[in-house]
Amino acid sequence: MKELSLHVMDIVENSLNAGATVVEIKIVEDSKKDLLAIEIRDNGMGMDEETAKKALDPFFTSRTTRKVGLGLPLLAQAAKTAGGDVTVHSRPGEGTVVKAWFKKSHIDLQPLGNMAGTVASLVALHPDVDFIYRHVIDGRLFRFHLREIRKRLQDVPVNNPLVVDWIRKFISDNLKEINGGAEGWG
């Protein structure tokens, strides 16, 4: 993966394969603490403790046919090379929480990349899931809740191409704004 936003896409796909109907993505950037943190929380079927631990292990993952896939080990690797780490908390029947953190100034930190593209893509492919996306940059918050969008659209589906395009721009513009107008969100 070239961008952290692609890791996010992949981890969320895991959540959806595990039957999640609500997925929360939270990203916190804190310059003072030199921290970038990503949290993905779902209400999917969850895993027992042992499976959750092993989900981070690429050798375990590639030898089974489970749907967890290679995404988590890849994310863990990206985190470790950038002075951070990944934890997975899960319980059968109670969903899964994946937390990844990185040293924001680390030279090997992958760019966060196109989060607007990731969220818009997820909405396009999974219109029935309630996506909640929060992004905090040095205390400035942007919050996106697909349920609010759905309510406004009434009978128009959220995966209509016009709507998906609007969502992508909506997120991109607002991220630029909380980022102080800086470029780099695409």
Binding site: D10, E13, N17, L125, R152, L153, D155, W166, N174
Partner: protein, 121 residues
């Protein structure tokens, strides 16, 4: 800050198009491979390009969905086009530019682009 109120306008636009096409029951499907290696190889950009092209052409009767890993890493990103009453066509190593052409030539003009296709996956 861009506000959620603008959605009203989008809703009206989308509704006009949907009403025009309500009769059309037999829908074309476009399926993008969204396994780990698909995503890593650029499937997100491919998907966004397809949606953008559909939007520009006012096509709202095509269903865009995903499939997971089918064990063909080196051919990712993969895109299937399934037209009603026609065999599935699988495009391999798709990028954003190819994706736009697939919409223009295959979806709109009904011409399979043979050189990008793998038969019978």
């Amino acid at each position: 800050m861009k506000s959620i109120e603008e959605l009203e306008k989008i809703r009206e636009q989308a509704r006009e198009l949907i009403n025009l096409r309500k009769e059309n029951e037999n829908k074309t499907r476009i399926v993008v491979g969204m396994g780990t290696c698909g995503i890593s190889a650029g499937a997100r950009q491919v998907l966004l390009a397809i949606l953008d092209e559909l939007k520009k052409r006012n096509i709202s009767d095509v269903i865009v969905t995903e499939t997971g890993c089918i064990g063909m890493c080196r051919f990712e990103p993969l895109v299937d086009v399934i037209k009603p009453n026609q065999p599935k066509v699988t495009y391999v190593n798709v990028d954003a530019d190819k994706a736009r052409q697939i919409v223009a030539r295959h979806i709109v003009n009904n011409q399979v682009i043979d050189e990008w296709v793998i038969p019978n996956i």
